[in-house]
Symmetry: C2
DNA sequence: GTGTAATCGAGAAAAATTTATCGATAAAAA
DNA sequence: TTTTTATCGATAAATTTTTCTCGATTACAC
């Protein structure tokens, strides 16, 4: 029972940190230099002690009565995630989802860059999408090795995902960001992060549904 | 302290359910008719009792020694989320992210459909993307009302998100699915679901980083 | 039939996470 | 200079979530 990559940082914290980061970037734009947890808490609807704890994981210390310097805080989060040096990645599946990921400008902020795309469809191979060339899938293993790429993005249909993952792993990929609605099995030492768009949608729809029901309920009670 | 939409179902459960759903769909394709929690647990790397508990929230009951009927289980999850009747939604921001969301075929499975897109850029207005027309943003409020659309998707740059959200809310939108890397403030009774792609990326990168460090550490110890 | 094995459901125990509390510290005001 | 106030950090309490345990149920083998 020691197999898992022993994440000593709570995952909820890990998920909140990028949110702080985006928020702080906005603050910086507005020209704010200093911010307190109380203030962040109001804007993000979180409890100040929790924010303090989360931020403490990045190794930063605040000053009583003052708070944190926005720039220092941003730097601290960047260092924590290693966003200052760029991670180059390969993407497989240049369909709609794949194209969107290639075209999405926002990743540069997080030190992430898709440097090549792969696909099987002859009509897509050879195209250039947002400056990223689409290569035949068969080449992925050798190119992974040659270019020492460690992160792979999967944006294929569900049925192709596992096979693609195995090709990536054979090429030495250590982290897989999976957008296909499928479960990927990977050996120990390879991290798979599943990104399921439906999850967020489901949560939204369910909350909406419950809200409506409670609304109806309230109306009926009020009669 | 009674303000929040009192989600009596644990959110982690809510986030796991779509995962079960996708997994079960795959099982069905392979022709499997019956499945036990033990089996699901092996494939999804989760504990059987937890799966049982999660599934129980959808109101289903399993049969000892047998498990669950895959089709019945799928139906139960569909009913739970209300995926059998289609939710129509408007999208704002027909950039890369917006186009991807419009083009993504996968949403139909979850009873979700983007029926129109809105943008401000004159060169984009009037285009048709995957059968979805792009209309001027100014029309969104009146069209929301006329077509009784209750869900809005925001795929604009961060700075435009709040303003767009307010237009949507003015038109009667009750649920906002936000892909812009910005915090949206909404009145009570409007649900905002933030979808931050960077979150998953950050978790992946951090796990990878920790894995590498522990690997290095191990190597050094072994010397 | 009867026994065995697999699985379920429900409730208890354990773990993780969130929330609250309290003393300490630093800036601003008196 | 002293008092007041806002905020921090650390610890403790409460809550939530996960994991475990156990008796009950059902199919299958003998």
């Amino acid at each position: 029972m020691i197999s898992k990559p022993e994440l000593s940082i709570p995952e909820p914290t890990l998920r909140r940190l990028p949110r702080y980061y985006n928020y702080l970037k906005e603050l910086l734009k507005v020209g704010r230099e200093i911010v307190s947890c109380t203030h962040i808490g109001k804007d993000l609807d979180l409890d100040p002690p929790q924010i303090r704890k989360d931020l403490a994981f990045t190794g930063i210390r605040g000053v009583p009565k003052v708070g944190y310097q926005v720039e220092v805080l941003l730097k601290s989060i960047e260092d924590f995630f290693g966003w200052n040096n760029i991670d180059e990645a390969f993407l497989v599946g240049a369909g709609n989802m794949g194209r969107a990921l290639i075209g999405y400008q926002g990743f540069s902020r997080y030190g992430f860059k898709i440097i090549a795309a792969f696909d099987n469809a002859p009509e897509i191979i050879g195209q250039t999408i947002n400056g990223v060339e689409v290569l035949p899938l068969s080449k992925i293993k050798s190119l992974c090795k040659r270019m020492n790429v460690k992160i792979g993005v999967i944006a294929t249909p569900a049925h192709a995902a596992q096979e693609v993952a195995e090709m990536m792993i054979a090429g030495g990929i250590r982290g897989i960001w999976n957008f296909a609605p499928a479960e990927i099995r990977a050996p120990e030492g390879v991290i798979v992060q599943n990104e399921n768009l439906a999850t967020g949608l489901a949560v939204l729809c369910k909350k909406l549904q419950m809200l409506q029901q409670s609304g109806k309920f309230r109306q009926e009670v009020e009669k």
